[in-house]
C-alpha cells in the first residue's frame, strides 16, 4: 500500500510538472518576422542535410547486408523502411514547425 502511495506521488508530481510546462510553449506569438525566410532556409537546410546523411548510412548498411545475405531480404527491407520512416519524420517535424511558425 505504501508503495502504491509512493508511485502515485511520483506520478502526480510528474503530471504537475507537465502542467506547469504547458504555458511555456504558448509564449512567443507567431508574428510575421522579416527573418522568416532565412530561418526556413537555414533550418530546413540543416534538417534535410543531416537527414540525408542518416538515411544514407542506413541505406548503405542495408545494401551491404543484402549483398552479404540475399536470403534475408524481407527482414532487412522491413527494418530499412521503418528506420527510414523514423529518420525522415524528424525532418518532417522541422518542416511542420517551420511552416506553422513562419507562415
Amino acid at each position: 500500500m505504501a508503495r502504491m502511495f509512493q508511485i502515485s506521488k511520483y506520478f502526480f508530481m510528474a503530471m504537475a510538472a507537465m502542467l506547469l510546462a504547458t504555458p511555456a510553449f504558448a509564449q512567443g506569438a507567431a508574428t510575421s518576422n522579416p527573418y522568416g525566410p532565412l530561418a526556413v532556409g537555414i533550418g530546413m537546410g540543416i534538417a534535410a542535410g543531416l537527414c540525408g546523411l542518416g538515411q544514407g548510412r542506413a541505406t548503405a548498411s542495408a545494401a551491404e547486408a543484402l549483398a552479404r545475405n540475399p536470403g534475408a531480404r524481407p527482414g532487412i527491407q522491413l527494418f530499412l523502411f521503418i528506420g527510414l520512416a523514423f529518420i525522415e519524420s524528424l525532418t518532417l517535424f522541422t518542416f511542420a514547425l517551420l511552416f506553422v511558425r513562419t507562415a
Partner: protein, 243 residues
Amino acid sequence: MPTQLAFTRILNDHFAPLANSILSAVHQPAAHPTAPISNAFAMELLVFLVMLVYFVAVRVSLSVEKPSTIQHVSEMIHGFVGEQSESIIGHGYERFTTYLTVLFLFILLANLMGLIPGLESPTSNPVVPLGFALTTFLYYHFHGIRANGFGYVKQFLGPVWWLYPLMLPIEIISHFARVLSLTIRLYANMFAGDLVTLAFFSLIPVGVPLIFLGLHFGVSIIQAYIFMVLATVYLSMAVAHDH
C-alpha cells in the same frame, strides 16, 4: 468562404442544413454556414464510397471456380498484408488483418487521390491523419488489454519496482508521441509533396513538375505502407506476452 472542389460543392448544395444541424448539436458551429463540409471531409467520403463499391464488388463476384480479376487483386492485397503481419506479430495475426487492410487501402486511396485533377488528398489536411492515428492508438490499446488483461500495465513499467515512477511518465509520453509522429509523418509528406510540385510549377510550368508528381506517387504508396507497418509493429508490441 473557402474554395470548394466540385464534389464538395455538390455535397454542400444538398447536405449543408444536415451538416449544420449535426455541427450545432455537438456545439461546434461551422465557420462558414453556407459551406460546412470541408474539402477533406468530402474527399474522405469519396474514398469511403470507392472502398464500399470495391468491397461489395468483391463480395458479389466471389467464386471458387472462376475467380475474377477483382478477386485476384483483393486476394493479393490480403496476402500481402497477412504475410507482413505474420512476420511481425507472429501467432494470432489473423485477427488484425481486417483493420490493417482497410487502413492500408484507405490511406493509399486518400494519398493517390491528390494526383487526380479536380480532387485533392484528404491526408494533406492534418485532421485526417490524426483520425487514423487516434483510431490506431485506441485499437492497439484495446487489443493490448484484451490479450494481456490487467497485466498490460506491466508494459508501461520498468523491469524493477524502483524504476516504476520514472518509467510510467516516459512510457505514457512515448505512447502519445506515437500519435503525434504518425500524424505528422503522413500529413507532412503529403503536404510537402503538393507544395514541391506547386513550387516547381511556378518556376517552370512545363515538364519539370511531372518529375515531382512521379516522386509524389512513390511517396504516397510508401507512406501508406509505412503507416500500416507501424500500426502492425505497435499492435505486436501491445499483444506480446512477457516471458
